[in-house]
Subunit: 459 residues, 2 copies
């Protein structure tokens, strides 16, 4: 704490009330969304400008104080968790949309802008920003975890949608990466090195991201199936045939039960796809035909999708609330959302294997996810004191990861490594590749001050 | 040379005739495509296996011998040029397609596979690999320069199409990056760090790349315009309206003249777009209507595009041969192809500015390019001994880069930095960002043995 106190003194003039050291204030920044034990930050700094961040970083660097960047703390693997003796940097106040350039299909934002605020701001332009994690996360957090969401199957993830960044390095230096052009071959791709680095390399203070035209026609709806495997096979063949679905989400019967209860839906408790199609009126009609034909082969009911915006909104609001909905299934429960991604042809094996493992362990855990990407989540619903349940969930989680790795998949499609998947990272990439990542980390952050203990276990 | 001789002795048993030290042999590996003075490699090694590469790299590392990875040497900024005292590593013999996985829309290749060989291999699958630089380049070279081509406007560049790599690091260690899943948030994005690193960080020995379904319907043709600006405005509005064109290439009247003469086309010498549309029969019809309507506003002639595969092939063969076609305009000429990319809304200014600068300098230089990406090329056609011409071309090149940077663009959309744009790299990203790139380089290649002098000027 003494280094922190010294830092506070140094920055007092600049930060004033935006340097939060009292407990009631700090308690609001515990980043407690995930299932990991949330720590209380020792101190929280709230920069408002790039210069604030530069000064903070330079001072922390000089004082040897670790820095934990924080968006709105909705990440699920302890990615933004407080670290003892560190300053947590709350970026949610740097939340201006600096520029919207419809003519170049891009905008420039401060890191604390949330996806909902951004889309609100874009309303009049006919454009939208497609990446939509269930939470109303910040763009800085989303870039830092390579987040995605329901639209990624068509529009890509944060990786494909970030064009350039401004980043404050651990010593306070400000750099610019990328450009406003759609492509570039100019030097190392720093933009994509920072994207997904979970605050361990520097602090993103500005981002240019791609925008997309709001489609002329949108059809969406839910689609019930006789069997889980039938729903999944429909997804696989849809992707393999290149139907450009905009959203293709799976909810298993347990997830449907949770959403019915929580969000007032009245869907049959069966394996269900939530589907959305974007295009011209003729284009979406054509996509609908192709989808119907594929689903009919696999026990799909009638594909009743509609253009009614209110119904669509209700559907996606329910989908986005699936995690709290799962939590609400059991009084005083915690959810542990694990996130797996496999090559599309392996999705059926992955999901039937997950269901079998969950059932064999006797756990309550809906399965759902952005299946068009081969990405699914399991929400383990557990009471904190259910030690046996947690042990079983840990074992099932490892089993899901092992399966994914055995078929060429990844231990996380979008949530990142945080503290929860540090071991899996080594299993996935091998010790030599992770050693290389550590060398890059050491080159950029030699003192190891940026978000220590995340991605890599401390040595 | 003495370190090289020692290295040769060390590797003699393994490489035998694939260690080429005699002049006639080495002369075939001069990577002389660009306008930069081509050097003769002192020695060329031809690995056939990953183990060959590992042994070579470990031995070079031990002996302190620099290594220059080489695909087929078609890069245009001296990226693969020989370095005195170095071993040039010819990867064109590692050219097997290791696996085609249509069910996951991907394939796994050795680095020396060329784009044409790959598509030949994919013929029976209904899938294709879209990235098509004009030359029949290798996948390893294309990944290393973040290459693109005519299809990138729809299918993305190498950046978007590479899923994972196997890389031999400078000390001979073999690592794996990425996965076969469509997305991943697992650790630093090493795949995209190596992509575009121009052989300065390691040697790519295997790559997994995305494949795409061959579209049901393809329409293509050339489209003449009254004015250069009209053609460019048509491109801008097409992209802004989100018409998913598959190819949209500009050829100015000088380029058309060159292609008519070289490739036997009979097009009117006017600003021309080569366009291709992919989709369902109804989808391409719809795209054609939208395009026509946009072009009609800007002095476009009739949009006569057809489904005739032979005509389409003739058109694209002519487009791909535009560089030799330009060279053939003047006896004993050399072409200098520069490569600029700007945000789409700035394309009109960029191209009219380029034409004005070329004309003011009195140079012969067709303008053409992948304009759907905001990417264009100027082919300066020069005799080697025309010192004044070269000086003027240098000045115009700097002017084009300055304009691009002033509007948020990049000094290279797809050719990379090589030796030709090292100064521009610093202007584009700033000294601090380039210093960070150098720190990453030093972390991965501490002895500075990988392709020295490329991307960064030697210190
Ligand atoms: C109900 C619910 C649903 C979710 N659904 C999805 C989903 O569909 N897809 C998905 O991808 N995720 C999902 N998530 C997870 C979460 O929303 C994402 O991880 C999101 O990207 C986190 O954003 P945040 O602003 O909350 O960042 P935080 O949690 O505050 O931080 C995330 C990471 O980024 C770092 N960071 C934050 N800001 C910066 C910055 N400016 N510079 C450098 N580093 C920074 C932090 O240090 C941390 O490592 C969900 C979460 C919840 C609670
Ligand atoms: C007529 C013509 C048209 C062209 N059109 C285009 C175009 O439309 N778009 C475009 O992007 N480019 C174009 N180019 C440029 C060129 O084709 C590309 O730069 C291509 O990517 C080079 O591939 P290559 O196999 O020839 O690689 P090389 O030129 O041999 O090498 C390129 C770079 O990659 C490195 N490298 C090669 N293999 C490896 C490996 N396995 N591991 C690590 N590093 C490696 C080299 O060291 C070098 O830095 C064109 C060139 C010509 C001659």
């Amino acid at each position: 704490m003494s280094a922190l106190l010294g830092l506070g003194d140094m920055l007092a003039g600049r930060f004033g009330e935006r340097w939060i050291a009292h407990e009631a204030g700090r308690a609001q920044f515990m980043a407690a969304e995930g299932h990991h034990a949330a720590g209380m930050p020792d101190v929280v700094a709230q920069p408002r400008t790039i210069e604030d961040v530069q000064m903070l970083m330079a001072a922390a660097h000089a004082a040897g104080v670790p820095v934990v960047p924080l968006g709105v703390g909705t990440s699920l693997e302890g990615n933004a968790g407080a670290v003892a003796g560190a300053v947590s940097v709350d970026l949610s106040g740097m939340n201006r949309v600096l520029e919207v350039a419809p003519e170049d299909l891009l905008c420039v934002v401060e890191p604390g802008v949330t996806r909902e605020a951004l889309n609100e701001e874009l309303r009049a332009t006919g454009l939208f920003f497609p990446i939509d994690p269930g939470a109303n996360a910040t763009l800085g957090g989303m870039i830092s975890t390579r987040a995605s969401g329901t639209n990624a199957v068509r529009y890509g993830t944060m990786r494909e949608n970030v064009l350039g960044l401004r980043v404050v390095l651990p010593d306070g230096t400000l750099i610019r990466t990328g450009s406003r052009a759609r492509k570039s071959a100019a030097g190392y791709d720093l933009t994509h090195l920072f994207a997904g680095s979970e605050g361990t390399l520097g602090l993103i203070v500005e981002a240019s991201v791609r925008l997309h035209g709001i489609p002329e026609a949108v059809l969406a709806g839910s689609w019930g199936f006789d069997s889980l495997d039938g729903a999944v096979q429909t997804v696989i063949e849809t992707i393999q045939s290149g139907v450009p679905v905009a959203r293709m989400e799976l909810l298993d019967p347990v997830a449907i039960r949770a959403c019915n209860a929580y969000a007032g839906l009245t869907l049959a408790e069966q394996p269900t796809l939530f589907v959305e199609l974007h295009g011209s009126p003729r284009g979406v009609a054509e996509q609908r035909e192709m989808l119907s034909a594929i689903g009919a082969e696999h026990g799909g009911g009638a594909l009743t999708i509609s253009a009614d915006r209110d119904e669509q909104r209700r559907l996606w609001r329910a989908r986005h609330a699936a995690l709290p909905a799962a939590r609400a299934m059991v009084t005083d429960a915690v959810t542990w959302s694990t996130d797996i991604c496999v090559p599309i042809s392996k999705l059926a094996g992955a999901i039937s294997g997950a269901r079998a493992a969950i059932d064999a362990a006797g756990l309550l855990a809906p399965i759902l996810g952005h299946v068009g990407d081969g990405n699914y989540h399991v929400f383990f619903v557990l009471r904190r004191d259910d030690a046996a349940g947690w042990a079983k969930a840990r074992a099932v989680n490892e089993e899901l990861i092992d399966y994914a790795l055995s078929v060429g998949g990844t231990c996380t499609g979008e949530h990142g490594i945080g503290i929860g998947k540090r071991g899996a990272l080594v299993r996935e990439h091998g010790a030599d590749a992770v050693a290389l990542m550590r060398r890059i980390k050491a080159a950029i952050d030699p003192a190891g001050l940026m978000n220590p203990g995340k991605i890599f276990a401390e040595e």
